[in-house]
């Protein structure tokens, strides 16, 4: 690696993010917040940190929304972000062929391929060293399974046709046969956060990791228990008990006597007094009424209003709904 400044990366953003509905009914999945920032920013920041200069998003819907949103970050982070839009789903390898011109330049530098559903400590620097050390065509990061993080030489692109193809099932086996595929065990945590249950566990792992690396980013105080991330523009009342494993986004108001554990409170949410929330995701600009109880994988979409004293046990609520009656058993509220 003579010059890291020309490195590129492709992020497989994919489709509708149906597994993360109702959150993905309001925003494309990469823009859904995780630990107070859009999922894809975790990846873009990690790539930028090791010197990647251009990120290609392989996307098959709403590229305008993505690009509009990411425009700000392009300048802020000083990284070029482009989209490569599939007109039909191309699997996990096809998008590489589609973005071939962006990924393969004269430098011959390897490029990263990341799955947007995956959250980890992104040990990309170590991966480059690993790739360099074995000298093969492709490196894959593994946990117990394929971790969805690859570092590939441009020559891999010659193996891929522009048609729906699986990189894992069709391309890697060939590279392996040629003795050119090397696996690196991923240090630290890893989680596919493409569905709510894993999203919630993923936050725990992420905050654990943050505790070890940059504990100053975590909240502290008598009302905080375990690892809690609170945006500087969130307000928290007195008599609350918050944590463990909670993220509270910007503009949130948490009134007095509230209990929060293992949950994500997204931007602009209001939690009224004495409410109790655990193991749940509260979508953007929602409200949870006083003495309400929200738990057991309750997922509130954007702008949902849970009335006072209501109990939600695993309610999955689509955007813009008002919940006036308790949800006693997990169910979907259309």
């Amino acid at each position: 690696m003579k010059d890291l400044s020309t490195m590129k990366a492709l992020i497989l953003v994919g489709g509708f993010g149906t597994r993360l509905r109702p959150l993905t009914l309001s925003f494309p999945k990469p823009l859904v917040d995780f630990a107070n920032k859009p999922m894809i920013l975790h990846q873009i920041e990690a790539l930028k940190a090791i010197g990647v200069t251009e990120v290609v998003l392989a996307i098959n819907y709403q590229p305008e929304v993505m690009l509009n949103f990411l425009k700000d970050f392009e300048t802020k982070l000083g990284i070029k972000i482009t989209c490569s839009q599939e007109t039909e789903p191309l699997g996990t390898a096809g998008p590489l062929a589609l973005a071939r011109d962006k990924l393969a330049d004269k430098s011959g530098e390897p490029f990263f391929v990341l799955n947007s559903d995956v959250i980890s400590e992104y040990p990309l620097k170590e991966m480059i060293a690993f790739h360099k050390s074995h000298g093969g065509e492709a490196s894959i990061m593994v946990t117990k399974i394929n971790a969805g993080i690859y570092l590939l030489n441009p020559s891999v692109l010659d193996r891929i046709e522009l048609k729906p193809t699986s990189i894992e099932k069709e391309i890697f086996p060939k590279i392996a046969l040629a003795g050119q595929l090397f696996a690196m065990v991923l240090p630290g945590f890893w989680m596919d956060i493409g569905q709510p249950k894993d999203y919630i566990s993923g936050l725990r792992l992420y905050l654990d990791s943050l505790r070890k690396k940059t504990p100053s980013k975590l909240a502290s105080g008598a009302h905080i228990m375990g690892n809690v991330l609170v945006d500087e523009n969130a307000k928290i009342g007195d008599g609350c008990l918050i944590g463990p494993d909670v993220a509270i986004g910007p503009g949130c108001v948490v009134e007095s006597g509230v209990r929060l554990s293992r949950c994500t409170i997204m931007r602009g949410v209001r939690i009224k007094k004495h409410a109790c929330i655990s193991s749940s995701i509260i979508g953007w600009h929602s409200t949870v009424g006083q003495w309400a109880r929200v738990e057991n994988m309750t997922i509130l979409g954007e702008d949902v209003h849970v009335c006072d004293e209501i109990y939600s046990n695993g309610g999955v609520v689509l955007p813009h709904k008002e919940i006036k009656a308790s949800i006693l058993k997990p169910e979907i509220v259309m």
Binding site: D238, G239, S256, G257, R259, Q290, E309, N313
Partner: protein
């Protein structure tokens, strides 16, 4: 006091039943006789007793039942002092039926009252006997019944109420003459619809009632003698094999005497509920799945609310003031025992720039018994909190009965749907149940001395 009023002296007899049929009041009947269970913060039997206090020239109140005397001793002595009317518990040696039970104690009931012996001897005779069932919840309009009874000039007057035709068959249905109010026809729990007017289980009688009961008893004895000659007849009818001193009021007195210008009706326009599960007649399609214990407790909770509402008119001083300046925000009718402690904290939160109320919010329909402790930020709705309960900060209790000395943890939630068709429509915590912090208990019956450290729903916990 004029001579006429002294001529008319009344006694009241309140039938309290016995422990044998109390299984449906478990788990709470494991600790207390049902008639002493608090509704609106007062023992169930307190409400008819308190109503009797309004009867003019009331000499004595008797409670008749099969509970052990010691179970009522403390209550009877304290209520006698409080009301300044002698209250006495009479234990039946065996079930006699409601009329038989009354008759069994006729000598006591009719005897001279020692408290009033200073009056003229001829005026000490009892002129009216009120008979009330303890498991009835109503406004007990006894003075108005007495007035009506005197106008009618019959032997007895029955309190009646109009109910929905669908529910009438669980009770005694009756037909009364619309102009004279005479009882024309009476059928206990009829197979086919007779009337939407039903017997409320509250009566006023003249002493001739004893003659009528004696008549039924004598008839029984005669039949029993006849039966020795005809065993075939004995096999034919189970009714006739009842013991001579077992006399039911409804089938043996009201039905035969209907239409004979002896019994009259007084219709109440107020509330009326029965605090027991319907016995043999339930509608299988709609009610089969409802747990009978839950049903009875739900009735208790409802009746507690009705009595709280009635306090507005009868005892407004018992209702907690709702201005929120003392210690809690009060919504609707709420009773809080003076010894209960409701945590008072409220302060202005600079950070949130709003007045943060850490008041508990209580009501509607909540009664909190002696020595209960209600923490800051607690929410109570439609519930009965018994003696010595502790409810910690930010906990929520809805549609529930919380037994003696229970502990409800911080941010925990004890709730039921409050839906009349739900299998377990009210959550009941037996004595000394401990619900740990943040645990949710929904639609459950929990037996005494259990600790709940995980959330439960739709369960009976042994």
């Amino acid at each position: 006091m004029g001579m006429t009023s002294m001529d008319e002296r009344a006694v009241a007899v309140i039938m309290v039943g016995g422990p044998t049929k109390g299984t449906r009041f478990r788990p709470l009947s494991l600790n207390i006789p049902k008639p002493l269970f608090p509704l609106a913060g007062q023992p169930m039997v307190h409400h008819p007793i308190f109503a009797c206090k309004r009867i003019p020239n009331l000499a004595q109140i008797y409670l008749v039942g099969f509970y052990e005397e010691r179970e009522f001793a403390l209550y009877v002595s304290s209520i006698s002092n409080e009301l300044k009317v002698p209250v006495r518990y009479l234990k039946e040696d065996k079930p006699h039926g409601s009329a038989g039970g009354l008759y069994n104690f006729r000598d006591l009931i009719m005897e001279d009252n020692p408290v009033l012996t200073f009056t003229f001897s001829f005026s000490n005779l009892i002129s009216h006997i009120f008979l009330l069932n303890c498991d009835v919840c109503c406004s007990f309009p006894l003075p108005a019944m007495l007035e009506a009874h005197k106008r009618y000039g019959g032997m007895g007057t029955i309190l009646v109420i109009k109910v929905s035709p669908e529910s009438a068959d669980q009770f005694g249905e009756l037909i009364a003459d619309p102009s004279t109010n005479e009882l024309l026809h009476y059928t206990e729990k009829p197979e086919t619809f007779v009337s939407d007017r039903i017997n409320c289980g509250v009566y006023v009688f003249t002493p001739e009632i004893f003659t009528a009961i004696q008549g039924v008893s004598t008839q029984r004895k005669d039949r029993a003698n006849l039966r020795r000659q005809s065993s075939f007849e004995a096999l034919q009818s189970a009714t006739r094999s009842l013991p001579a001193d077992f006399v039911r009021l409804d089938q043996d007195i009201l039905s035969p005497l209907a239409g004979k210008k002896q019994l009259y009706t007084y219709e109440t326009m107020d509330f009326w509920e029965q605090i027991k599960t319907p016995g043999r007649k339930t509608k299988p399609a709609s009610n089969a799945a409802i747990n009978p214990c839950s049903r009875l407790h739900r009735m208790s909770l409802k009746c507690s609310g009705l009595y709280l509402y009635q306090f507005r008119y009868t005892s407004p001083d018992l209702l907690t003031n709702g201005d929120g300046t003392k210690s809690a925000t009060i919504i609707g009718d709420v009773y809080i025992h003076p010894s209960a402690k409701v945590h008072p904290t409220a302060k202005y939160d600079k950070h949130l720039a709003i007045l943060v109320s850490k008041f508990a919010q209580i009501g509607p329909n909540v009664s909190v018994s002696a020595n209960a402790r209600i923490g800051a930020g607690v929410r109570l709705i439609n519930c009965i909190i018994l003696d010595g309960v502790e409810i910690k900060e930010n906990a929520v209790v809805i549609h529930s009965i919380v037994g003696w000395k229970c502990s409800i943890g911080r941010w925990s939630r004890v709730q039921a749907e409050g839906d009349h068709n739900a299998k377990l429509g009210v959550t009941i915590l037996g004595e000394a149940v401990n619900v740990e912090d943040e645990v949710v208990v929904i639609n459950c019956i929990v037996l005494p001395n259990k600790t709940l450290n995980v959330s439960v729903q739709q369960e009976i916990i042994l």
